[in-house]
């Protein structure tokens, strides 16, 4: 299927966006829609008539274009220059509420720039008070956190970009 290809395209897009100096980017093509913003407050800004995930017809879905906006959190540790080729995207196993820390007020499991090893907890996904942790399958550095703390994520939605080490 075209999904890996699509993810690659989106990564290129993320990279170009980070480099461009643009504050926001909104793309709509057929059923595909993508909204990028450097302002975290804009997460969830897009709620259109048909924000259904996916390219038209037979194409594989574009999980990144989940109904809520994808917000790139820039940081000094994530250089605006070239995105390393060895980036992996960590996705949500199912729909739920995304939590970056084990409990309210506690430090986040990871921040942009954090080094992780295989098996490290990255976040929690909550479904009706049932919390399951998402762990890293690789060793690397957190390049981007793609979802706001407390937001609803859908199955397969990208949560983190990790640069494999």
């Amino acid at each position: 299927m075209a999904e890996p290809e699509l993810s690659a395209q989106l990564l290129v897009l993320l990279q170009e966006f980070s480099r461009s100096g643009l504050r926001e980017l909104h793309i709509r093509s057929g059923d595909f829609e993508l909204y990028l913003s450097h302002d975290a407050a804009n997460a969830g800004a897009v709620m259109t008539r048909n924000p259904v995930v996916g390219l038209p017809a037979a194409c594989a879905p574009a999980p990144v274009a989940a109904p809520a906006a994808v917000t790139v959190t820039p940081s000094a540790a994530a250089p605006a220059s070239a995105l390393p080729a060895d980036v992996i995207i960590v996705r949500a196993p199912n729909l739920g509420t995304f939590y970056r820390s084990p409990k309210p007020g506690a430090p986040a499991y990871v921040e942009v720039g954090s080094m992780v090893v295989e098996g490290d907890e990255l976040c929690l996904i909550e479904v009706m008070k049932l919390f399951t942790s998402v762990t890293s399958r690789d060793a690397g550095r957190i390049h981007a956190v793609l979802v706001e703390d407390g937001a609803m994520v859908e199955a397969d939605q990208p949560l983190f970009a990790i640069v494999r080490m």
Binding site: N50, P51, V52, G54, N94, L95, G96, M128, E154, D156
Partner: protein
């Protein structure tokens, strides 16, 4: 309070049907999809689609906590379960209630009570609804003869302790009842350690008849006529029609009265169906069960009543009273529905998922097609194989059959095998045209002649 944003916890044609009903009522829609259904017709039509989880139903459509969490987090104040999946699991309305979401269906306690065969039969008995004549404790051969004589032959004898076909005997007279008792009881002792038998009247040629009900939970229950669903294979309905023209008017009135009395006795809320066995030879009907949901075959009742049952479901869940009275429900003409499945009839009805490469849908006067399919659409392998329901309405049964027949001829689907060909054979068969069918007709009469 009227629902403002409805969550649809289902897929396929019924998800699309519910989205359309909600849109007609100016209600926003959020459709739950699995990763396999992101591109479904319902997902495209709705205001929003949320991906619950992977394709496996247990990790998406069948997880009540996941479903209600998604409904709540997407800001929905109502939830429609459709049919199948979680529609008759009381935990769903219970979770909805805990989270301030109106469930489009009955109270959870009613779902539990009706889902339990023994409780449901007790409720039916209390409401004066006829049950299959029977006897629970046949302990001796002499008992078997006496009870058989009382119930009327043929009778079915089976182990009171167990299920399945073990120790099951059909007796046509008193001698057979005594002999059958010895045999069935010995088998029951061997299998379950208890020789007590259960006896009930056996109906060799029955029709499946059911009554469409709608209650508002404020004490009012209405019926929208009955349906005849006798064309079945392995207890799965293939063709459903309304009304049941094989039933005389006086019996029909009793049937409708029994069904509404049963629902009213539990102050039933929302859509439900009371199912009965119609013993044509004896001109009697017996209660089977109540299905506490909207059913696949609801369109035939809509076609003869001109009433949108799904919209009414949503209104009632929002707290409204029934919008019509029994006198205002005028049933006219005849409607027949064919369930079209992506199945290979030449390979024992093997479900055949895949991509639809051609979809030429029929149209015309009195024709309705409830389907989520189109050219290029994919039937994923994870769920049931239904691709749509073709419904024909006419001024009488003959006109409905003629219209259905023409529509089936016009219907072209390529890419996957379907049951369209079988439906053409069913509606062209003299037994179907002359309405001489029963629940075993398809398996005993038609299928053997076509080598399916």
């Amino acid at each position: 309070m009227a629902i403002k944003r409805l969550f649809i916890a289902n897929r396929g044609e019924i998800a699309l049907r519910i989205v359309r009903a909600a849109q007609a009522l100016n209600i926003e829609t959020v459709v739950a999809v699995s990763a396999a259904d992101r591109d479904s017709a319902a997902a495209r039509m709705a205001d929003r689609a949320v991906v619950l989880g992977p394709p496996a139903a247990a990790k998406s459509y069948l997880d009540p906590r996941l479903v209600v969490h998604a409904a709540k987090e997407s800001g929905c104040d109502g939830l429609h379960p459709g049919y199948g999946f979680l529609s008759e699991r009381a935990i769903l309305p219970r979770l909805c209630a805990q989270n301030g979401i109106a469930f489009v269906g009955p109270e959870p306690d009613a779902i539990d009570a009706l889902g339990d065969k023994i409780q449901a039969r007790a409720m039916a008995r209390a409401a004066g609804v006829p049950l299959v004549p029977g006897c629970d404790g046949v302990a001796t051969a002499a008992d078997a003869r006496r009870e058989g004589d009382r119930i009327g032959y043929p009778v079915l004898l089976k182990a009171a302790a167990g299920g399945g076909g073990r120790g099951m005997v059909i007796a046509h007279n008193g001698d057979e009842a005594e002999a059958g008792f010895q045999r069935a009881s010995a088998e029951a002792v061997a299998a379950f350690g208890d020789g007590t038998l259960f006896m009930e009247r056996f109906v060799p040629q029955a029709r499946h008849v059911e009554v469409q009900l709608m209650g508002d939970g404020h004490g009012k229950v209405l019926h929208f006529g009955e349906r005849d669903c006798s064309v079945q294979r392995r207890y799965q309905k293939l063709v459903e029609e309304a009304p049941c023209v094989a039933m005389p008017d006086h019996l029909r009135a009793q049937l409708q009265q029994s069904a509404t009395a049963l629902a009213a006795s539990v102050n039933y809320r929302n859509a439900g169906t009371a199912e009965f066995l119609f013993d044509v030879a004896r001109q009697e009907f017996y209660f089977i069960e109540v299905n506490a949901r909207i059913q696949v075959e609801h369109p035939v009742s809509e076609m003869i009543s001109g009433f949108d049952l799904v919209q009414e479901q949503i209104r009632i869940a929002g707290g409204a009273s029934l919008s019509v009275s029994q006198e205002q429900i005028k049933l006219s003409g005849h409607a027949i529905e064919c369930r079209i499945n992506a199945e290979d009839t030449s390979r024992d009805f093997l479900p055949s998922p895949g991509r639809i490469t051609r979809w030429n849908a029929p149209s015309g006067e009195g024709i309705r097609l409830d389907s989520h399919m189109s050219e290029g659409a994919m039937i994923p392998p994870f769920y049931d194989s239904m691709v749509g329901k073709l419904i024909a309405h006419g001024k009488d049964r003959a006109e409905a059959v003629a219209r259905l027949s023409a529509a089936l001829e016009e219907f072209v689907v390529e890419g996957v095998p379907t049951t369209i060909g079988l439906h053409r054979q069913i509606v062209a068969h003299p037994d179907f045209i002359e309405n001489r069918i029963h629940t075993r007709w398809l398996e005993q009469v038609l299928l053997p002649t076509i080598g399916a």
